[in-house]
Symmetry: C2
DNA sequence: CCTCGGGATGTGACGGGTCACAATCAACCG
DNA sequence: CGGTTGATTGTGACCCGTCACATCCCGAGG
């Protein structure tokens, strides 16, 4: 039933049909000058008739450019930049190869992923929440191909686009302080992830700056389930808290559920702040106050940067920083004993 | 700063270093016989030293095989098969190109997407909840390259892997009947999507079979928000209902929120059944009873099928059918006036 | 001693674009 | 009317693996 692999027309085929040389066809197809109008017309006719399309492998071979980018992700988050990357890559004329990376901590596994696409791609986008590889290591692994690291540590000296997690973490903590909370617990993300780490430190720093003791903390893994068990563990500690900072929205969802099962109301008894602002967050019960990371912007900025590196590689290594934004909804209760207002996170 | 595009070693480079011909190197690299052990050793040394990797574009050009597959998606759902496809494609030695398709209804836009990867890929995986293109149209568009359609209409005569949406819709409706519900409303998905259509018809069919009137129905778009407004609209109709069938889990989430805001309890006042079983569904409040579609299985089955088509293309056109599974949680209340038990959806 | 078989190794053409350069031809100038 | 200019068109080498085929060498058999 399946068609017998149709033989595709080549430049020569078109040339024969149009009665010119393949070079002339090439000029027409690539919009070069020095072709007489009537010749051009004749060639275009032949191109349409044979439905000629350039063979990208052949182009790749001669020009060394493939117009293919590779996106390396090692986790499917809810807010990952994939959709935006796909969109903007296409907009810029690139095709995206997407690869998953099982173990981002080992250079070996990174090497394996890169080997598969050796000499086939123009550049790499790596989503690397684990800062295990240095700029030098990555440069070596990529063998001179330009790359941009997405969502890595703020301050890393490598071509990258990142959210300022410190700022985001502070915004969340300061919001709770401003709403009168003084006993703040935390369900943080997996501490191997630098972003979880930074948010955790930001939370702690804000409290210390205001002379407060950090409340109890549990470590989750960014999945709903770990928010659920995390909140249960927090309750078991017997340490009092009036609010929870959650490492992301999903864990916040799990936590809300656990609190409710324990007979607590959200936000009347316990307030909660999430992180990410996934699409559902506004429809949680209660609607979740959270810190938005705009992954569309992240994706576009990353492709932008990579495309620029590929086209004129003289750009100096830099880090492009995006700022998260506090989205206030209904999961935080203002407490009656208001303290003084707490300083803003630095301006975006 | 950026490295000056390192020149990659070729077969000839390795041959020179090892003092043999490029043909011998080729034999070593491709594990062919007729190479003396000590020669092989010497070549391998040179390969390692130069870190030689075959140029995939050149291989593509000569063999006509690229070991690249293309996944065409036109929507980022929560349960899309992307992760599984990525995983299994890699497992089978394929690299995945992922493309988004903005307007799946127009052959022109499909053509544009396929043109970009013309002659570069071994096969296509198309996620096509809109059954707008016939087998013949697709065959033509793909120009003889094998393709598998994912999640299309049950019964379409084309190579495809699908869930039996009819069966899933029936399971959801029958569950509500079994739990004693007789007035069942629906928030269905966008009716351009065949899956939404089929589930809607299944719901209606089950009710009619049991001599019941379908309750009120509103149409959503699979986003949380439309579930929220949808439930509000259902309440405004003034038609009574004790349960809602939702086209997916996300809309169910929105609906639950709207019901609660209207002063109704879930499931005590209104029961609800979702569709998909996304990861968060178990942590909704209440935990959502839903119909699971296992997208991991879907992804694997699709890649399986496509790989088989590519390797021995004599496989007859067929449709591989997967069955959804009812997951009972807490969002459906058993009503006091139990009717007789309602028949099973046909066996999986 | 010559031939034959078979492993080891090398040669050359090819795939389909790309590009530097050569060839052709008309018009235009002095 | 030869020489120059410039647009038009064509030629051939190249990119890097792949594969069919040729060559070389050694030992075995007649």
């Amino acid at each position: 039933m399946s068609e017998p692999q149709i033989r595709q027309a080549t430049l020569r085929d078109v040339a024969d049909l149009a009665g010119v040389s393949y070079q002339t066809v090439w000029r027409v197809v690539n919009d070069r000058p020095h072709v007489a109008p009537e010749t051009r017309e004749r060639v275009l006719m032949a191109v349409r008739k044979l439905d000629y399309r350039p063979h990208r492998a052949a182009q790749m071979l001669t020009t060394g450019r493939s117009y293919i980018l590779q996106l390396v992700i090692f986790e499917y988050g809810y807010g990952d930049p994939l959709p935006a990357v796909l969109h903007w890559a296409r907009e810029y004329g690139y095709t995206m190869v997407v690869t998953e990376l099982k173990d981002p901590t080992s250079p070996e596994s990174v090497r394996a992923v890169l080997r598969e696409t050796a000499r086939m791609i123009d550049g790499l986008l790596m989503v690397m929440p684990y800062p295990h590889l240095s700029y030098e290591a990555l440069t070596q692994l990529c063998r001179g191909r330009p790359f941009v690291v997405v969502n890595t540590k703020l301050g890393s000296r490598m071509p990258s686009v990142v959210f300022d997690q410190w700022n985001g973490g502070r915004q969340a903590a300061e919001h709770l302080l401003n709403m009168g909370h003084r006993q703040i617990a935390e369900i943080c993300g997996p501490l191997e992830n630098f972003d979880a780490q930074v948010r955790d430190r930001a939370w702690r720093a804000v409290l210390v700056e205001h002379g407060l003791e950090p409340g109890p903390r549990v470590v989750g893994d960014y999945e709903v389930c770990s928010g659920y068990t995390g909140a249960q563990k927090l309750l078991q500690t017997q340490q009092p808290f009036t609010a929870i900072l959650s490492g992301n929205d999903l864990m916040a969802l799990g936590a809300i559920r656990a609190l409710r099962e324990a007979g607590l109301r959200v936000p009347e008894d316990v307030s909660i702040v999430g992180f990410d602002d996934i699409a559902e967050a506004a429809y949680f019960d209660p609607p979740l106050t959270t810190v938005r990371q705009d992954f569309d912007v992240l994706g576009k900025a990353s492709v932008d940067y990579l495309a620029a590196l590929i086209e004129h590689q003289e750009i100096a290594v830099q880090q492009r920083v995006l700022y998260p934004e506090l989205i206030v909804r209904k999961s935080v209760q203002r407490l009656e004993t208001p303290g003084k207002e707490v300083g803003q996170a630095q301006e975006t």
